[in-house]
Each structure stands twice: as structure tokens, then as C-alpha cells.
Symmetry: C2
Subunit: 84 residues, 2 copies
């Protein structure tokens, strides 16, 4: 079972890193960029769990360790069986 966890600053929290990237992109000619949110991505390979249990465990990992839920929000996406 493979999953992707994405952690972003909460919408109501300032994202100075995203702002800096947007400005840097504009300076090198990408003026069409309106907004950038900068976050973290974790690709996680799990043992054989059923999807419901995997989702539950991944949310626990986010709450315990991967995200700071005071200032960050997370999204868990299951990507199906591990590639052999």
C-alpha cells in the first residue's frame, strides 16, 4: 500500500515561503503565477493493510508527527498497492 501525504500551512496562516517563491517566479518571467502555497510531501510505503485501516493509520501519523495541526493542514491520498 502506497500513500501520499501533503502538508500545507493552513489557509488562514501566512505562507512567507510561498510568497517568496511567487515573487521569485515573477522576477524570472513567470508573471502568470497568481499564488503559490509551499508545503511538504511524503510518499509513504506501508505494509499490507486494507485501505480503510491504512487511511486511519496515516491520519494518526499526521496528527502525531508529520504535521503541526496548529498551523498546518494535511491531506492523505492512498495510491494503491506497492509497485513490485
Amino acid at each position: 500500500m502506497k500513500a501520499r501525504v501533503t502538508v500545507y500551512p493552513r489557509r488562514e496562516i501566512l505562507d512567507p515561503q510561498g510568497k517568496a517563491i511567487r515573487e521569485a517566479l515573477a522576477r524570472v518571467g513567470f508573471e502568470e503565477v497568481r499564488e503559490v502555497r509551499a508545503g511538504k510531501s511524503f510518499e509513504i510505503e506501508l505494509g499490507d493493510l486494507d485501505p480503510a485501516r491504512a487511511g486511519e493509520r496515516l491520519r494518526e501519523m499526521c496528527e502525531r508527527l508529520l504535521a503541526n495541526t496548529v498551523v498546518e493542514e494535511y491531506v492523505v491520498e492512498l495510491e494503491g498497492p506497492a509497485r513490485s
Copy 2:
């Protein structure tokens, strides 16, 4: 047009951050985690571009600024029109 860009260390490059996270997860009881890759995620809001052009511009952004292609690989995903 909204897009997501994910940047990960190349598979052949060591990912000490991912390894540290896997070990930390195991220590707090998530022994089912086999591997973690730790990367960056950018949610990018673009002006009105057609998807082919948006994909091209996003790949240019990765090559120019968002990824260090010597040691990182990137994935561009288009997510459809901006939410109003």
C-alpha cells in the same frame, strides 16, 4: 488553472530526511511503515492558460527554480480550473 508540483530526491540519491522520518514513525509505534520519501509540494494558481501551455510553463518553472534537477525529480499535475 491550478496545479500541483511535487519535488522529490531522485531515487538514486540518498534521502536522509525520509529515513529519519521512517525511523521516528517506527519509534512511536508505526512499524508498518516500510519507506518514506520526503519532498516538497507546491500548489500553484495560474492565470487562464490552456492545459498544454500550463504544463509547459510549469515544467519550465521546475527546471528554472522549483527543482534542482541534478539531485531532484519533479512531477507536474494539473488540477483544473481555479476555484472561484
